[in-house]
Subunit: 293 residues, 5 copies
């Protein structure tokens, strides 16, 4: 992720950085332009359809459905944004819980217990790192897929690393309790933070391995495709060669909305818009180190 100044309009309008949807669309936009040119040429120059041809009124369909497709795509983008923001919230909670746990342990542990301090100073930030690696693995993404994945040798067999790390923390805390280093009341006070680690992991896995239902996603793409493919038929007779930029621009808008949705609905990848998990893990390391240092 890179932080941008949302008030800088010139940059947003004229620069096309790696994170922009325009880039991957360029080849398709050229194709759409050529396709529109073909349709216009066919209707206007070859078939010489009159202005009163029935074909002109095909645009009525695009008006009737223009609303449905816009709405569908805006909702789609918002659902994707909600997933992205939910992912960000979980990583925010990871920061908070790591900090809180560190602060509490710093206070609970006897001043001279350097061993436990060093242990937690290493293990708490380790969780974030392990979670990040876990979420970026293909086997996590395909966890719920019904097909076999022979291409992934570790599919379904490998150890669940974040679980292991969480387990070691819980183990340590409960040992401290058993050895009466921390009291029962303190154990209860620590419970919220400790249980939260696996909760966060599970929630992130859910976002990762469950895209929106296939039938929904496929329908939107089919809808965009047919909508744009039929657009020049109606427009050619009212706009002539203006049809070419118009169709291209309409496709750009519709496809961009879908592309943005696709990109942000999985916030745990390595795209430019994905969450800066490495950076957050680093911050956790800094915070915990400072607290338990």
């Amino acid at each position: 992720m890179f932080y941008y100044n949302s008030k800088d309009w010139l940059l947003a309008i004229f620069r096309i950085p790696k994170a922009d949807t325009l880039r991957p669309l360029i080849p398709t936009l050229i194709f759409i332009a050529l396709y529109s040119w073909g349709i216009v040429y066919l209707e206007v120059n070859y078939l010489k359809l009159s202005e009163n041809s029935d074909a002109r009124n095909i645009t009525i369909m695009h008006t009737l459905l223009g609303f449905a497709i816009s709405m569908l795509l805006v909702f789609r983008t918002n659902t994707a944004y909600d997933r992205w923001w939910e992912g960000r919230k979980h990583w925010g909670s990871l920061v908070n819980n790591s900090r809180n746990l560190a602060i509490k342990l710093q206070v609970f542990l006897p001043v001279e217990d350097h061993g436990s301090r060093t242990f937690f100073k290493q293990v708490i930030p380790l969780y974030a790192l392990a979670l990040r690696r876990h979420l970026q693995k293909d086997s996590t993404m395909l966890q719920l897929d019904e097909n076999p994945h022979p291409e992934l040798p570790d599919f379904g067999h490998k150890v669940h690393v974040p679980n292991k790390v969480a387990e070691s923390m819980i183990f340590k805390v409960h040992n401290l309790y058993k050895n009466k280093v921390i009291s029962g009341d303190q154990l209860i006070v620590l419970n919220g933070e400790i249980s939260s680690f696996t909760d966060i992991c599970g929630a992130c896995e859910r976002i990762k391995n469950t895209p929106i239902p296939f039938s929904y996603s496929a329908f939107i793409k089919k809808f965009i495709f047919i909508y744009v493919a039929t657009l020049p038929f109606g427009l050619a007779l009212s706009m002539g060669y203006f049809t070419i930029p118009v169709t291209t621009f309409i496709f750009y808008v519709l496809a961009s909305l879908e592309l943005i949705a696709e990109e942000i609905e999985d916030p745990f990848g390595t795209d430019s818009n994905d969450l800066p998990m490495a950076k957050i893990a680093e911050n956790i390391k800094g915070n915990v180190g400072e607290i338990l240092g």
Copy 2:
């Protein structure tokens, strides 16, 4: 469920897998096409209505209501998606709580207590399996129906299996407490996870046995039906035989949205878009086995 690459447009547009809404719609689409053809033939070739006939302006109605129907369907689909996603969240919590419970028990139980470990290693994953079977039974779906169901011999009589499994876990945990294997503080720390099982079960049952209100659902279908059935009357005079693909496509869009909503609003069935409960239960088994192993 099968995991798909949401960035693969060609597959989404041109392949029509089992999970696609296009398949079940094909017969109806053919019927709509024939029906539109009939109307166009009637108006244009048989009655020979002029272009200025009042009938042409019926399209005004479709414009005025086009907005309402699109919006209604997009909201409908989103409500259904929310239910689907809520169901997914509950099964995600089931994973988290199963993991957390296993991790805590692994730490709390004395090293030599193999009996209890084996017990929980079997019973925790069993809950997910029992819940899955419970949610797929007809008697669960019809639990709140006001009509009698003589065709279901076990309707209203059978034992509630997930409850039984939860009960045995709670029973075991509290026995450990009574026998002072785990302390009162530890009991409190375990309480959240243990109570959550029946909460998850209840929430899933709610989604399963309460579809959206009948009057709402029936109204949407009536609306689509009348909207599409009257469409060719107005379009025939402005578009001629183009009315046939246009009406068919508009019906395809409206009906697809409704079909997708119907499919995903009950996420606990056996459709292709339904939640992979078997897979999740398997994962729980794997996780718990690894932790308590």
Copy 3:
């Protein structure tokens, strides 16, 4: 409530069960049809307005506002649905908490304590029954009304039955604690379930006694009324006698959305779409009986 198969389109489109919005609307629809006929007759046959009359363009207003009214009604319906679904969630929690409480008590109570078991076996399901009766009384609905209600003799005086039942449960549990039948840790573990009963009751009362603000609700009805009443003036000149079915259908759509909203915004009545509270209470009785049996 009756469970319906949401995939059965024929039933939804052609049958008009008691729960359908079409039934209560029929007289008004006939009136609207007659009214439209009157306007068309007046403009077309009596005044013989030309096609270019200014009146024709009144339809511009309906286009400009068509969007606002559709959106308003769809939002209205969704707000009502949210209330309905919130009500359903609270009754779902009631099921969960009743189950959890029964399971925990079954485990906590000494095997030989048949008295307490019998007590809870009767009182837990009683709460659901009492709550149902409480929510269906007029005095609950009018609890926050600023007007006096001499027609309700018990208004503001009668005992709050669900409170009484909850109180007896809490009383019993705390007595068990005082008599050391259950420990302090167990008391804490039971607290969540026990407190939840009055929370659920309060939340249901809130939904029951607070409809959406009057000015909002009245505005929507006024808007529908004026919108539909002015519709034939503009349409008559472009559609002739087609105005009659068109106006009637547009009114059907708008009024249905409002009617559905009215019906489901109070989910605790006795309409066909209301929550099956009797059935849920029965299920609680079955579950609790099975657990504590």
Copy 4:
């Protein structure tokens, strides 16, 4: 607040009670009608613009923006409704927590401790009364204003009454704990209810002293103003004198939505649509009295 039957359409359409938005709008509606008349007279009778004048097409702008303004206002109203409903929820929680606290105390306190019972019987309902008075004071509303308020002598100086009441309750409970009248487990069980009082107060203060951002609110009003003021210029040439009722009605719809939003976004005032806090406080008094009586 007065309870109304949402199914009574005649009342909603034809009666204009104090709570209706129509009343305060009447003078402005008359002004808009006169203004529209002026524009129509100017264009049609004075300037005698032809039907093909460019001015006629100004309506294109109103079509393009009609969507934006409707959507903005519907969202605005919904945001306001959410605040109103959130306020209602907090007062609902106040009822629940007051009840739960009373029930628990009734059980926890020794039978003979009449003093404490009397104390809570008075103080719990007092909180609701104090909160109501606190929320209706101008100094609460202006708490976060950056300007000085010399006209309010108590601004920023006065004692926070609800805080004082909450403090006295917490003080009493903890004294009971210190004097071992209630145990530590019971203290924990009471903590949720007791802490919730200040939480509810804070949440209500937030709704009260933070209207939606000024730039948002001012923009909506400017938008409505310019939209309606330019409307007759375009309509006059297509509708003639029909422009007058049409413009007036469009203004009525847009302004009503904004007015409703303004009225309900602060649910703690004394408007007819505001929350019946006095009534709720009275109910709390009744409930608590019945429980602790």
Copy 5:
């Protein structure tokens, strides 16, 4: 922030205070007006395009997309508002938790322990002040940026002040527990408030350092730019010189929505619409001082 009377329409429409979006837009509005004038002059006076030119129908595109852009912007503004309101909620919780903590400590601490009282009287309000300063620093905003920031000398190195303050509070509370000034039950009762401080800090940091995804934000700006830039081409032929105010007004509406969103999506800055954190911190100081005084 300044409190405004949302019912004062004249102020909202005619005054243009610092917080209004109109101010920063004025230069761009002038530019758009000149640009539109240029296009109209070109098409109407220079090229003398006929009314039937294909160019006129470019407006079809603006109609088809007018819906998408309005919807996108309204959703954008609402997402921003949600962030603003979430920020407000967190600062509201800070007020509540500060109050609750102070009230509880006032009760728990022995009457004679002036030292601890003075400590908390200073440190609790200090947290709000430290959090405010922390959120307004550039290094907090850029925390997750992937680029280096040599211009910020303290970037990534400086001590996390709110953490330090929270740590000192937790340290103090647990010391009181260790010294048996407060009991274990009281420690548990204080835990919620104490842990919440870092949670609130983390949530505010999240809002601050994570703007909406760049690709989304950039797309909206590109869309507005192209939409408005192409608008005069189509309008010039139907509206003549009316195109100039119309294009300018449409741009004003679209850009205002985006500007408002930009301004409120980060509620922790120093804009007029940002949260009055200084004021809130002051109120916390007042409340805590009154309680612990």
